[in-house]
C-alpha cells in the first residue's frame, strides 16, 4: 500500500485515492484535423514505460481533487506530487 501525498491534505493511505492514469495527456487542440491513427493514439495508447512516471490521482475519500504524482513504477518509490496546472519539476 502506498502513502500518497495529496498536495492539499498531506500524506494519506492509498485506499483514499483513485487512480487516473498517465498525466499531461492534453485533449487534441484541433480534433477535427486528427487522422484515425492520431485518434487511436489519443484514445487508446498511453505511455507504458518503466521508471519515473507522471500520473494522475484523485483524493476520492478526502478533498476529492485531482493532482499529479511522480512515481517510479519499477520500484514504487514516490518521488513527489504536485497540483493540477503545475509541472513535473514542481513535484515535492
Amino acid at each position: 500500500m502506498f502513502q500518497i501525498r495529496c498536495p492539499y491534505c498531506g500524506p494519506r493511505d492509498e485506499p483514499e485515492f483513485k487512480y487516473g492514469g498517465q498525466a499531461h495527456v492534453a485533449y487534441p487542440a484541433d480534433p477535427e484535423q486528427l487522422s484515425d491513427e492520431e485518434w487511436t493514439r489519443f484514445l487508446f495508447v498511453r505511455d507504458n514505460s518503466r521508471g519515473r512516471y507522471a500520473e494522475r490521482w484523485n483524493h476520492a475519500a478526502g478533498c476529492r481533487r485531482w493532482f499529479n504524482v511522480i512515481r517510479d513504477n519499477g520500484t514504487h518509490e514516490m518521488v513527489g506530487s504536485y497540483r493540477s496546472g503545475e509541472q513535473p519539476e514542481d513535484a515535492r
Binding site: 500500500m1 502506498f2 492509498e14 485506499p15 483513485k18 487512480y19 492514469g21 484515425d36 491513427e37 485518434w39 487511436t40 493514439r41 484514445l43 487508446f44 495508447v45 498511453r46 507504458n48 514505460s49 518503466r50 512516471y53 500520473e55 512515481r71 513504477n73 519499477g74 520500484t75 514504487h76
Partner: protein, 407 residues
C-alpha cells in the same frame, strides 16, 4: 539468484541449456507459457525447428508461476468464444499429447450471479455460449448449492447468490507441470530454450526485423515473435512502435493446505473473487488488478484484504483458513480486455500480448494461432479479429464486464 544458476539446476532433467546460436529462422522473445506454446506449435505444426525461445530470467519465473490456473471458455463475444474454446479443446488433449501429468481437471466453473442484472447477463451469456458450441448451463441458487455445497446461498447474505452459470468442461490444471511439459516438448523437437538472455534491442532494417541484441550477444533472426506479456511495451519501443497496453500488478494468494472442501472453481463478479482448491489442498484466490501501472511484481495489501473478505462472503467457513502466501505478477491490460495477436508495423515481427488477467487458460490456443501467424506471415482465422489495427478501425472486442469476470 543468478538466473543461469537456476536454469542450470533445471537443465539436465527436462531441457538442454544451450548457448545461443548466431542465427535462427525464428526467435520467440519470452519463455512464459505462451512463448513456449508458440515455439511448440511452430516446431510441431509447421516444421520450424531452427528456432529459439529467449527468456530474460528462467523458465517458470514469471506469470507462468503466478496465475490461478483457471481454465474456461465461456466468453460472451463470438471472437473470444472461438479463441478460448479452441484453447479448451487443445487442453483436453494435452495431457496425452505432451505425455505429462498436468493434472488437468474439468471440475466445472461456476460464475455466480448476485442481483437481477447479473442474472440477466449470465443467462444471456449462457445462450451466447451455446450458440457458439460452448457448454453452458444456468443454475438457480438451490442447484448451485447442490453442485457446490459449501457456497453460502442464504438470503441473509449481503449479496445473496441468485444463481450461477456453470461450464462443466472448465476447471484447473497444475501450472508447474504445464511448464515442465511444454519445456520438455519444445526441447525434444529441437527448440533452443535460452535462459538468462535479455533482449536489449531489436534490429530493424528498412522496416524489417533482422535480429536481436541480447545480454548474451547478437542473434540474427528471420522472424521474431514478441510474447512478453507485461513487458511487451518495453520491447515494441525498441522496434519503434507502441501497443495500447498498460502493465499492472495482479495479485493472488494461497491458503495453507487443507482437506479437499471445494470441488469446483467459483467466480463472482459482484463480490469479486475467484476461488479454487489446488490438488495439493491450498485454496487459491485471485481478483482484480491494482489500479496503478507497475513493473514491480507486487501490489497493495488492501487488494488482498478485499479479495479475502469477498471469499469469506461466499464461504463463511474460510474465516478460519490461514494465508500461506501472496504474490503479484505483471499483467498486460488492453483497453478492450482482449489480447493482441498478429502482425505489427515491422515486417516479420509479430506480437502476442494483452491477455491481461486471463492468459493461462489460453495457453494452447494462443501458441497455436501465434505459430500459424509467424510461420505463414498471415493471421489464423481465430486471431484475425485480435489485430493491432482494431483500435484504429474501431472493431473492438469489448470483454470488459462481458467475459464473466471483472478485470
Amino acid at each position: 539468484m543468478d538466473p543461469n544458476e537456476h536454469a542450470l539446476h533445471n537443465a539436465p532433467f527436462l531441457w538442454r541449456n544451450p548457448e545461443p546460436k548466431a542465427s535462427y529462422d525464428a526467435v520467440i522473445v519470452g519463455g512464459g507459457l505462451h512463448g513456449l506454446s508458440t515455439a511448440y506449435y511452430l516446431a510441431k505444426n509447421h516444421g520450424l525447428t531452427n528456432i529459439a525461445v529467449v527468456e530474460r530470467g528462467w523458465i517458470g519465473n514469471g506469470n507462468a508461476v503466478r496465475n490461478t490456473t483457471i481454465i474456461r471458455s465461456n466468453y460472451l463475444w463470438d471472437e473470444s468464444a472461438a479463441m478460448y474454446e479452441h484453447a479448451l479443446q487443445l487442453w483436453e488433449g494435452w495431457e496425452e499429447e505432451l505425455d505429462y501429468d498436468i493434472l488437468f481437471s474439468q471440475r466445472g466453473v461456476l460464475n455466480l450471479a448476485h442481483n437481477l442484472h447479473d442474472e440477466r447477463e449470465s443467462i444471456r451469456r449462457v445462450n451466447a455460449n451455446r450458440l457458439n458450441g460452448v457448454d453452458a448451463e444456468w443454475l438457480d441458487a438451490d442447484a448451485v448449492k447442490e453442485f457446490c455445497p459449501i457456497v453460502d446461498i442464504s438470503p441473509e447474505a449481503r449479496y445473496p447468490v441468485m444463481g450461477a452459470t456453470l461450464q462443466r468442461r472448465g476447471g484447473i490444471a497444475r501450472h508447474d507441470a504445464v511448464i515442465f511439459a511444454l519445456g520438455r516438448a519444445c526441447d525434444a523437437l529441437g527448440v533452443d530454450i535460452i535462459q538468462g538472455c535479455e533482449v536489449t534491442d531489436i534490429d530493424v532494417v528498412n522496416g524489417r526485423v533482422t535480429g536481436l541484441q541480447t545480454s548474451r550477444g547478437p542473434i540474427a533472426a528471420g522472424k521474431v515473435g514478441l510474447v512478453a506479456a507485461g513487458r511487451t511495451s518495453l520491447l515494441t519501443a525498441m522496434a519503434g512502435f507502441a501497443v495500447p497496453i498498460q502493465s499492472h500488478p495482479l495479485q493472488a494468494l494461497v491458503s495453507e493446505v487443507y482437506e479437499q472442501v471445494l470441488n469446483c472453481v467459483v467466480m463472482s463478479n459482484a463480490v469479486h473473487v475467484y476461488v479454487s482448491q489446488a490438488h495439493k489442498g491450498e485454496l487459491v484466490m485471485g481478483a482484480g488488478i491494482d489500479a496503478f501501472n507497475s513493473y514491480a511484481q507486487r501490489g497493495g495489501l488492501h487488494v488482498i484484504e478485499e479479495q479475502m473478505s469477498a471469499g469469506m462472503q461466499l464461504f463463511p467457513q474460510f474465516s478460519r483458513a490461514r494465508v500461506l502466501r501472496t504474490w503479484g505478477g505483471i499483467v498486460d491490460v488492453c483497453p478492450d480486455a482482449s489480447p493482441i495477436v498478429g502482425l505489427t508495423p515491422v515486417e516479420n515481427l509479430y506480437v502476442n500480448c494483452g491477455w491481461g488477467t486471463g492468459g493461462f487458460k489460453a495457453t494452447p490456443g494462443s501458441g497455436w494461432v501465434m505459430a500459424h501467424t509467424i510461420a505463414t506471415g498471415e493471421p489464423h482465422a481465430l486471431n484475425r479479429p485480435f489485430s493491432l489495427e482494431r483500435f484504429e478501425t474501431g472493431e473492438l472486442i469489448d470483454e470488459h464486464g462481458a467475459a464473466a469476470v471483472a478485470h
